[in-house]
């Protein structure tokens, strides 16, 4: 099969997908999206492929290129609706919450003074996050009203796209780790604990170490339920372990990185993903 890989920066994952596709006897077609042009009256896209895997690091490029490939009738993993739901933390949180999936308690508002006032209902410490972003970037913990005020003021004078939206969340007193579990097709086969001894933010981009995840039935069912409500085919779901409430779903990633997962689990994510997509496309 001809396997299109939409990308803008070739990381380990994109190179590994290319390599594994070749090993499986397929033809990988890397499509570098940064210099691509689409005309509204194009009758087809070049190069053609049997399906496309979305691997852009830029959410904007990912959303638009998935959308365009879908317009031309190509199966695209993940589709633009899934990416839209994952890339905006407000949309993710509220979809999960409305479907009775536990998330950290969160509120949003468009008014800085209201944000300060209602933060009392969440209690300190609390966490402020950019509506869109990743790798723990600009996620900050406020221990008191004074600190929160400073963070909100900083946000107000940034050039962030969503600088006028305040996304405020309880600080979950989790162990020094969180969970990243992957959904691939209709399975949740692998995951990691992300452990950080020095930083409450457990993103591997911020130095957290990966360890193999023991996937119990509850976790597997939760991951598949998240997929049911968010959509998509390949998701990286971040989950906190709360001492009283159990699992809380924090975020869902629509273009997940998995280098560390492969390394510590000795599990070939690229090959598993390709096999599952090919099975799905052939159906």
């Amino acid at each position: 099969m001809r396997i299109g890989i939409l990308y803008d920066m070739p990381r380990w994952e994109e190179k590994n997908l290319i390599e594994e596709a070749k090993k499986m006897g397929h033809e990988p077609i890397p499509v570098y999206t940064k210099d691509i042009v689409f005309f509204s009256d194009d009758k087809k896209v070049e190069p053609e492929a049997d399906f496309f895997i979305q691997r852009n690091v830029s959410h904007n490029r990912a959303l638009i290129t998935s959308f365009i490939m879908e317009q031309f009738g190509y199966p695209t993993i993940n589709d633009h609706i899934t990416l839209f739901r994952c890339e905006n933390k407000i949309i993710t949180t509220y979809i999960l919450s409305r479907h009775s999936i536990n998330t950290p308690r969160t509120f949003i508002t468009f008014n800085k003074n209201i944000a300060l006032e209602f933060s009392k209902k969440i209690g300190y410490p609390l966490v402020i996050k950019p509506v869109e972003g990743s790798w723990g970037r600009m996620v900050a913990k406020a221990d008191n009203l004074d600190t929160l005020y400073s963070y909100l003021e900083y946000q107000e004078f940034t050039t962030q796209k969503y600088k006028d939206i305040y996304y405020i969340q309880e600080f979950v007193n989790k162990p020094n780790r969180d969970i990243r579990i992957f959904v691939i097709g209709d399975e949740a086969p692998v995951g990691i604990y992300r452990v950080n001894e020095h930083n409450w933010r457990t993103n591997t981009a911020l130095g957290a170490k990966a360890y193999p995840l023991k996937i119990d039935e509850e976790l597997r069912e939760l991951a598949l339920k998240v997929r049911e409500v968010i959509g998509g085919f390949f998701l990286g779901i971040d989950i906190f372990e709360d001492r009283d409430r159990g699992y809380l779903v924090d975020e869902v990633n629509g273009v997940p990185e998995y280098k560390n997962t492969v390394k510590v689990n000795n599990f070939n994510v690229s090959q598993f993903l390709l096999k599952k997509i090919i099975e799905w496309v052939k159906r």
Partner: protein
Amino acid sequence: MAILKCPICGGDVNVEDDALAGELVEHECGAQLEVVRQNGKLSLRLAEQIGEDWGE
């Protein structure tokens, strides 16, 4: 191996012939560069800074 010019300092940069477009290259002058592949020809440009919308 292709020998390309650093667009910042003009120095030589070695890049694999089969490098993918967008591949990042650190040059000794400190510039972070990305590979451009146009009409089969390779060149370099300054790499894009991490964007607000970048991530997983």
